[in-house]
Amino acid sequence: MNEFSAIDGKDAAPVYNFAYLDEQTKRMIRRALLKAVAIPGYQVPFASREMPMPYGWGTGGVQITASVLGPDDILKVIDQGADDTTNAVAIRGFFETTARVRTTTVTEEATVIQTRHRIPETPLGANQILVYQVPIPEPLRYLEPREVETRKMHGLAEYGLMHVKLYEDIAKHGHIATTYAYPVNVNGRYVMDPSPIPKFDNPKMDDCEALQLFGAGREKRIYAIPPHTSVVSLDFEDHPFKIQTFDEPCALCGSRGVYLDEVILDDAGGRMFVCSDTDYCERHRPEDGSAPVAGWEVDQ
């Protein structure tokens, strides 16, 4: 059995424990999760395991999902907002094989949603857990590469460096030039990296009904935002935080106020904008079929 057969080998009897991880490891991760929930935004070190998929491909999220998943859960996995991107397919296949849980693409149906780089457009409810895959959990990392230093800065809530960086952006460009992984302050205490979601999604984290869990496997960190916690994107009084806006609606479903991906249609500058959240888009299309159909859909 190789690591690929997790996707192909649905008929092969798995020799692994429910959801792959052994119970000892799950207990260790759940302890870290409890601590993370108790101290919102604080990065809890945990003994991240080597998973059968590469570091940087969602091993942190996968370990959290494996630890919170029960047999009755319904799992949704998205990458870039889409259920059908290759890595989302691979991770969903992994849990279909190792945990045999029901999976879905419908946001409301899911009890556990593992995501990379997006928060679904459909508001989340109290019965849901959103699990983020995190590449670099330390919001201060690009300002200070040393873990010894950044942990100290968090301990002292010494976030001046981050404000200086944002101020320098304004001085140089007239606005803050961070568009994704935009830092937030959680519960008035810890500055936290929201993972590389577009800043468009930041407001959805604030006072969210669902439990939000963050896993960074390679960096061996877990952190969390409990339901109804305040999450504030860093800004200045005279330069308030603003999210991206799009001039046109989704070309497929006509939705406005959602995050759009640009799809290049030809080499002459032709392009269209479509929802990045594929589930939301599919369920908002006009029923009379009046929506244009993109070329890449016809190919399938």
């Binding site: 690591e3 192909d8 080597e50 590469p54 940087g56 290759t86 997006r118 007239g174 994704y180 991906d261």
Partner: protein, 367 residues
């Protein structure tokens, strides 16, 4: 299409089928056996065992075959298997002075008790491609007779220790447990046991480059090869139910002890200090590089200035693991179009502002 909006599952399945086909290669060429890999490509297998942190030649050979000869991929396969195995405990420290020696050399003494034993080495070969290894009718080389004199071969560091000219092995506190970075997240500053564990698992190429940098002035430590020895050592483990240690088998290891001069400090007399390298199987280059980096990382312990990358514990330990490195570097292949969209939007906006500004400036210049 690369990021198919639909049909990702089918594409993945097909890609893996193609991979299996390519791995097998031409069907009229015999399939390579694991015995052939384990015995004839033994040094690759040894590296997979070392950096995979698992002493199992058969699994390493299997991983090598499955990975189509890609060593880092093979190391990854072994690590992913290893992580599912339960940990029963830890062994007693292996005693390399009781090693069944295949090779033992010292660069610091011309002759020494036990003598120099070259063993199977590439050293002093002329690196000329050997056409007799090519083709179907390969001449079998004559079997080399090994004279096993079984003479005692004390470690060079033990010889120097009699004069107290070299630091000792260090005493372990009673009941002390060695750290294990696969069970506890690494935190800094890390103790030497954890550093050595990280280096033993670390990428050979990365450590080679770092070790080399210490020879070129980025933290100069004046190293000498006190000794390199390769051979089999017994692994003993204490069984709690029995209350005494039993041997659970023999493993082949390569040990390198670098000896470096130390001028002494206010607290310590002038003496030689040591850098230590130990890897599974035959892996001399890695063991040497490891011992150079180990010594460089002890800078703080000896009150030396930390000025070079090889002395910087966070830098070295955070980047030495090739499974971590390759995962994060290669994850850039995953779709990033949500973030790229955000950047595209920003660059377009800044570009617009730039052009407006330039137009304004040229207008002012014209007036």
């Amino acid at each position: 299409m690369y990021v198919a909006v639909k049909g990702g599952e089918r594409a993945i399945r097909n890609a893996h089928r193609l991979l299996a086909d390519k791995r097998r290669g031409f069907r009229d060429v015999p399939d390579i056996t694991l015995e052939q890999i384990a015995t004839q490509l033994a040094l690759s297998v040894d590296r997979i065992m070392s950096e995979g942190s698992l002493y199992d030649r058969d699994l390493a050979a299997l991983a090598m075959k499955q990975a189509r000869g890609d060593l880092i991929e093979a190391i990854f396969l072994v690590r992913a298997w290893r992580t599912t195995a339960p940990r029963f405990g830890f062994s007693e420290p292996i005693d390399t002075s009781k090693m069944r020696i295949e090779r033992r050399i010292s660069a610091t003494f011309k002759d020494l008790p036990g003598g120099q034993l070259l063993g199977p080495t590439f050293d002093y070969t002329h690196r000329l491609l050997d056409p007799t290894l090519e083709g179907a009718d390969i001449e079998e080389p004559a079997r080399a007779e090994v004279t096993d004199e079984d003479r005692p071969m004390p470690r060079v560091t033990d010889l120097l220790a009699h004069e107290d000219l070299i630091e000792g092995d260090g005493e372990q506190e009673a009941g002390a447990e060695v750290g294990d970075l696969t069970r506890e997240p690494l935190s800094f500053p890390a103790d030497r046991d954890l550093r050595l564990q990280a280096l033993a698992r670390g990428d050979e190429g990365f450590l080679l480059g770092l070790g080399y940098s210490t020879q070129r002035g980025y933290s100069r430590t004046h190293p000498f090869v006190g000794e390199i020895r390769i051979g089999e050592v017994e692994v003993e483990i204490e069984i709690p139910e029995l209350g005494f240690t039993v041997s659970i088998g023999e493993i082949q290891v390569t040990e390198c002890q670098m000896v470096t001069q130390f001028k002494g400090s206010a607290k310590a007399p002038p003496q030689f200090t040591r850098g230590y390298g130990l890897v599974f199987g035959q892996g001399e280059r890695k063991a040497m590089a490891m011992s150079l980096v180990d010594r460089a990382l002890r800078a703080r312990e000896f009150g030396e200035d930390v000025v070079a990358p090889a002395q910087d514990e966070e830098f070295v330990l955070s980047h030495s693991d090739n499974v971590q490195s390759t995962g994060f570097v290669e994850h850039l292949k995953l779709p990033h179009y949500v973030d790229f969209q955000a950047e595209l939007d920003l660059v377009r906006r800044m570009r617009r502002e730039y052009e407006e500004r330039s137009a304004q400036e040229s207008k002012e210049a014209a007036e």
